[in-house]
Amino acid sequence: MIDIIICISTNLFRIYLIRRFMQIFFGCREEEKGKEILVYGGFFLINTGTFLMFHLVWINIICNLVGIGLIVLLYTKSIKMNLFVTCSIYLINIGCDAVSTLPFIEYQDGESFTQVYAVISVLLIFICELFTEKIINERKHTENIQNFSLALVPICSIFMLCLLIYIKASTVYGLVIISVGLIMSNFLIFNLYNMLSSTLSQKYENEALRQKIQNYSNQIELMLQGEEKVKALRHDMKHHMSELKLMAMENANREIQKYIEDMEAFIENPNEIVSSGNMEIDSMLNYMLHRAKKELHIVNVKMQIPSAVSHSFDVNIILGNLLENAIEAAIQTEEKQLDVDIKLKQGVLWIKIENSFQGRLKKGQKGLMSTKEKAEQHGIGLNNVRKIVEKYNGIMEICSRDNIFCVKLILYMSKIEN
C-alpha cells in the first residue's frame, strides 16, 4: 500500500519532469491543452498500472519508450528528432534509476522492492533536468537561467534520504512519509521559482508597453504641434504674400530670402527629428532623440527605411535599448556625440549606432557591460536585443575605437519561399 502511494507520487513527478524536458526542447506551447492532458494522463495511468502489476523490466522499458515517444509526437513530426529526444530522456531516466537502486539492493527481475529508491531516482532526474535546462538556455542566450543553487534542493534531499536509509534511523513508514514529503517540497519550490520568474518577465513586458505608450503620446503631441503651426501659417498666408510681393517689387532679394527662411523655420518642428512615415519607429526615435539633442552636442541621424517596415515592434525594442545605452554613455563624455544610421537594403535591415564613450569596457560574462550603475538593467537590455537579433537570424557586433563605441547589427526582414 505504502509502496503504491510512493510509486504514484514519484511517477507523477517524473511525468512533470518529462513535460519540462519537452519544454526545453520544443518551447512552451499553449494550444492543444486537452490533447496534452490526455496523452500525459494516459501515459501516467498505463505506466503506473503496468509497473505495479507486472514488475517486469522489458514491459517497463517498452511502456516507457512508447509513452515518451507518443508524448514527443505531440510536439514534432520529425522522426529523427523524436528518436533523439525519446532516447535521451529515457537514458536519463534509466541511468538515474540504476544509480539510485543498484548500490542498495540486488535487483532481480520480477521482484518488487521498496519504492523509496524511486524517490532518489526522480530527484536525480530533476537535477539532470535543471542542468539540461541551464545548458540549453545558455546556448540560446535567453535569460531566465536557473541558478545552480536551485539544484542544491534535490541534491540535499537525496543526501538526506541516503543517510536515513544507510544508518537505518527510521522505520519503513517513517521513510515513506519523509520521501513523499521531500518530493512534494521539491515540486513546490520548483513551481514557486517558476511562478516568480514568470511574474518578473511580465513586469518587464509591462515596462516595455508603458514605454511604448509614452512614445506614442509624445508623437501625437508632435503631430499636433505641427498641425497648429500649419494652421497659423495658413491663417497669415495672405499677409505673408503681400509682404513678399512688396519686397519683390522693391527687388529686395536678400530680404525675401530672409523672410522665406523665417517662414521655414517657423513651420519646422524642432522636436520632430525623424519623419520616415513609419509611425511606430518615428515615435520611438523622436522620443529618444529629443532627449539626445537636449543633452548632447552632436546628433546625426540618417534613416533610409520604407514607411511600412515589418516587425516594427521588435525593431523598436532594439532601437530603444541601444539608444538608451548610447545616450547614457555619450552624456558622460566631453564630445557628447551620437550617430545613428538605419537603412533597409536588399531585404536586410542594417542598424549602426555610434557614440562617444569614456573608453572603459568591462567584459562581463555575457558580452560587454557598461560602467554605468544600473548594470543589471543594462544587461537585460542588451540581452533582449541579442535575443531579437537571433530571432531574425541576424548578427550583432560591438566594437570600440578611440573613444567611439559602435554597435552594428543586421536583421533579415523578408522571407523567400522556395
Binding site: V274, S275, S276, G277, N278, M303, Q304, I305, P306, S307, A308, K343, L344, K345, Q346, G347, V348, W350, K352, N393, G394, I395, E397, K408, L409, I410, Y412, S414, K415, I416, N418
Partner: protein
C-alpha cells in the same frame, strides 16, 4: 566619361545639382556629361531610344510619372540593372516600392555639396569596379567579360558557367580556385555558387534572390560567413 542624368520638376533644383556635380567633376578631373529632365516622361523616352545613363539623380515627387514609376520602368521594363539611381525628395518618408528598385542612395532636400561629393565618390567607385574585366579561356581562345555583367558563377561538373542577364558562358575550372581571384563584390554562398552582391535584391539567412528572379540557396556551411560579410559591408 560618365553620363549623368538629373530629373526633377524644380528647374532651380536641377541646375543647382548640376552645378554641384560639375564642380565635383572639375575637382576630381573626371570627364562627365550631364543631362537634365523636368518630367519623368521625358527621361523615359530618352532611355527608350537606347541612350545610356550611368548615374541618375531622380526626384521621387515628379508631377505626372512619379520617381517610383520611373525607377520601376528602368529596372523592370528596360531591365537596366547597372544604372546607379539616387533618389531625391523633400521629405525623408519613403514608399515601400522604392526599395525594390535597388537605389544606391537617398538624398533629402536641401542637398549640400558634401552630400553630392559622397554620393558621386561611391557611384564612381561602383562603376569603376564593374568595368574591370574577367578573363577566361575556352579551348584556345581568350574571352573577356566585365564583372559588372556577371550575375553569378555556377559550377557544373568540371566546368564553371558564367550567368549574365543576357547569356551563359562556360569554361573549365574550380570554384575554389576562381573564388581567390575575384574582387570583393563576389561572395561564395555555396560550394557551387559565387554571386555578385550588386545584383542581389533580397537576402535571407538561407537564400538570396537575384535581380533576374533566380533564387539560390546559401549552404549551411557558408551562412555565418555570408551574414558577417553583409554586416561588415552593409
Amino acid at each position: 566619361m560618365y553620363n549623368i542624368g538629373i530629373c526633377d520638376d524644380g528647374r532651380k533644383i536641377c541646375s543647382f545639382i548640376e552645378n554641384m556635380i560639375l564642380l565635383y567633376m572639375k575637382e576630381r578631373e573626371i570627364q562627365a556629361d550631364t543631362k537634365v529632365w523636368y518630367t519623368g516622361e521625358g527621361l523615359c523616352s530618352y532611355l527608350r531610344q537606347g541612350n545610356h545613363i550611368d548615374i541618375l539623380f531622380l526626384d521621387i515627387e515628379l508631377i505626372e510619372l512619379t520617381g517610383i514609376e520611373v525607377g520601376d520602368f528602368i529596372r523592370n521594363q528596360l531591365e537596366n540593372r547597372e544604372m546607379q539611381i539616387v533618389y531625391i525628395s523633400g521629405k525623408a518618408a519613403y514608399a515601400q516600392q522604392l526599395f525594390k528598385t535597388q537605389p544606391m542612395d537617398f538624398l533629402v532636400k536641401p542637398i549640400t555639396q558634401l552630400q553630392i561629393n559622397e554620393v558621386m565618390d561611391l557611384a564612381v567607385k561602383i562603376i569603376g569596379k564593374k568595368s574591370e574585366t574577367f578573363e577566361f579561356k575556352n579551348g584556345k581562345e581568350h574571352y573577356y567579360i566585365s564583372y559588372g555583367e556577371i550575375l553569378y558563377f555556377v559550377s557544373e561538373g568540371r566546368k564553371i558557367k558564367i550567368i549574365t542577364p543576357r547569356e551563359e558562358k562556360e569554361f573549365y575550372g574550380k570554384i575554389r580556385e576562381l573564388e581567390k581571384n575575384l574582387p570583393g563584390e563576389f561572395i561564395t554562398i555555396h560550394q557551387s555558387y559565387i554571386i555578385n552582391k550588386e545584383y542581389v535584391t533580397r537576402y535571407t539567412y538561407e537564400m538570396v534572390e537575384l535581380v533576374n528572379g533566380t533564387i539560390l540557396t546559401i549552404s549551411k556551411a557558408n551562412r555565418k560567413q555570408v551574414r558577417e560579410k553583409i554586416l561588415r559591408e552593409g
